[in-house]
Amino acid sequence: MTVSGTTQYTPSEMMTVTAARALTSDMTCFVGIGLPSEAANVARMTHAPDVTLIYESGTVQTKPDILPLSIGDGELCESALTTVSVPEMFRYWLQGGHIDVGFLGTAQIDRFANLNTTVIAANHPESGKQGAHSYANPKVRLPGGGGAPEISTNAKEVFITVKHSKRTFVEQVDFVTTIGFGRDGKGRDNAPNIGKGPTVVITDLCILKPDANTKELVVTSLHPGVTREQVIEATGWEIKFAENLESTPAPSEKELIILRELKERTAKAHSA
């Protein structure tokens, strides 16, 4: 898709702007690197100027002018209110209950919003043989959990943003690095001191939310121009659609300008 004017936009831009809208000024957000970081900073630069962004590198209330390439770029510290040690970040700030939203990306996500960033299994295992079995037989070794396993349980809720594809949206993740609602959807039911878990998943096609009872992800809003068939085709399980399926508002001119300027500044800075 050619994108020149601000009435046209890519699916990826649609995803970022929609993800950004999930954040509001009164939230504290523990930001994952990549797509979540892009969305969080667009939110801060548009409708949520006072959103508090926190990165696992210890940077509290940071306001980077460009997107960090790594989770601990200098820009994050220089524009932060304060920077604490990494143990303090995980103990006092995340586990201590000061994070409203954990904003995560992922390599695989399943119908109960469990996330896998550990391994893609060599042979997609039969049901019940994931986990340790996949771990011992990797086809692709992914980076690992990083902060996600505890962000997902210690933050009050979790937002996820990830591109929609059959490779990513799988019936069962090969390995649960980070719990959504567990392999049966009941993983949080009796766990003490645990957050609500994933409340929204934003992709380049649609918005998904967990069903209130089953915790299965269902499509609640389609992005402009996206069909049900496209979503069904890009999802590895029999995806359900909400009764009152909404249509996601298109990005505004302001949102697109800010996103594009941010990415331009970032590209320039990182190639310097």
Binding site: I33, G34, E56, S57, G58, T59, P68, L69, S70, I71, G72, D73, G74, L76, C77, E78, T83, V84, S85, V86, P87, M89, F90, R91, L94, Q95, N114, T118, Q130, G131, A132, Y135, P138, R141, P143, G144, G145, G146, G147, A148, P149, E150, S152, T153, N154, F175, V176, T177, T178, I179, G182, G187, R188, A191, P192, N193, I194, H270, S271, A272
Partner: protein, 271 residues
């Protein structure tokens, strides 16, 4: 008590084959020069611990120094995979390596417990994750007051902790500023420690609660200007993002990596 040495002397006297090492620095202040000196001195069978074994450990693993890797996120940040680490895990090249995998919270807590002299760290972690199936070092402890099950991991207490910092004073006291990561913890938790610094100054000019390591907690201070490059040193030089991007191509191929080792590590003397 701190001794001032060259980096070459520091590695020669403090790091032995078979040691457990932690070279820390959370994106910021990564002790790259020290890592290269370990490669030059051809240490073998090291156990390397690091939350984010990025390019620095890719280089050490690729050079055949490592038998075991303890980590919580392994990748070239913002770029992609660690090809030398993957080649070692997947094809035992240049030698097989064992891995122990944690989450960041677990490792941050384990370093904290190491600094605190405890045998283990206790935290609210790994709930619903399958990592405990893949790592025997994760246990559970019941809170005697609430009955809650908390996760436990062994404290990290390396033989040698290695970090890079901005500056030391003439007595060997060290100031770290900016993203301080787990560096203080690593030095306090390790049996021996090496700190490379950008410069020696007359006075640290530190505010009362700055992150300062007293000389008597450090075994060796070595001046290595630019010792964190391609990582960065807050107040001194920025991150060399191009180096990280170029690393992807260099490290994909065994030959190009080995050429890089020759020209960029072995051909160079002690920094």
């Amino acid at each position: 008590m701190t001794q001032f040495m060259t980096l070459s002397e520091a590695i020669a006297t403090q790091v032995n084959d078979g040691d457990s090492l932690a070279l820390e620095g959370f994106t910021h202040l990564i002790p790259f020069a020290a890592g290269h000196e370990i490669i030059r001195q051809q240490r073998k069978s090291l156990t390397l611990t690091r939350m984010t074994p990025d390019v620095i450990y890719d280089q050490l693993v690729g050079a055949g120094c490592v038998k075991k890797l303890v980590f919580s996120w392994g990748g070239n940040p913002g770029v992609g995979s660690l090809h030398r680490v993957r080649d070692a895990i997947e094809h035992a090249y240049p030698c097989p390596i064992e891995t122990v995998e944690h989450s960041h919270a677990a490792m941050a807590n384990a370093y904290e417990a190491g600094a605190a002299g405890l045998p283990m760290a206790l935290f609210r972690g790994y709930v619903g994750s399958e990592l405990p199936q893949a790592n025997d070092d994760i246990a559970w402890v019941t809170c005697p007051f609430t009955g809650e099950e908390l996760s436990a991991v062994p404290a990290i207490k390396p033989d040698v902790g290695i970090i890079h910092a901005q500056k030391a004073d003439r007595a060997g006291n060290v100031l770290i500023e900016g993203i301080v990561g787990v560096q203080k913890e690593v030095v306090l938790a390790s049996k021996r420690s090496i700190v490379t610094v950008e410069e020696i100054v007359d006075s640290l000019e530190a505010t009362p609660n700055a992150c300062v390591l007293p000389a008597w907690t450090i075994d060796v201070v070595a001046v290595v200007e630019g010792g964190a490059h391609p990582s960065y040193a807050h107040g001194y030089y920025p991150r060399d993002n191009n180096y990280y991007k170029q690393w992807d191509a260099i490290s994909r191929d065994r030959d190009s990596f080995n050429q890089w080792l020759e020209s960029h590590v072995f051909a160079k003397g002690d920094a």
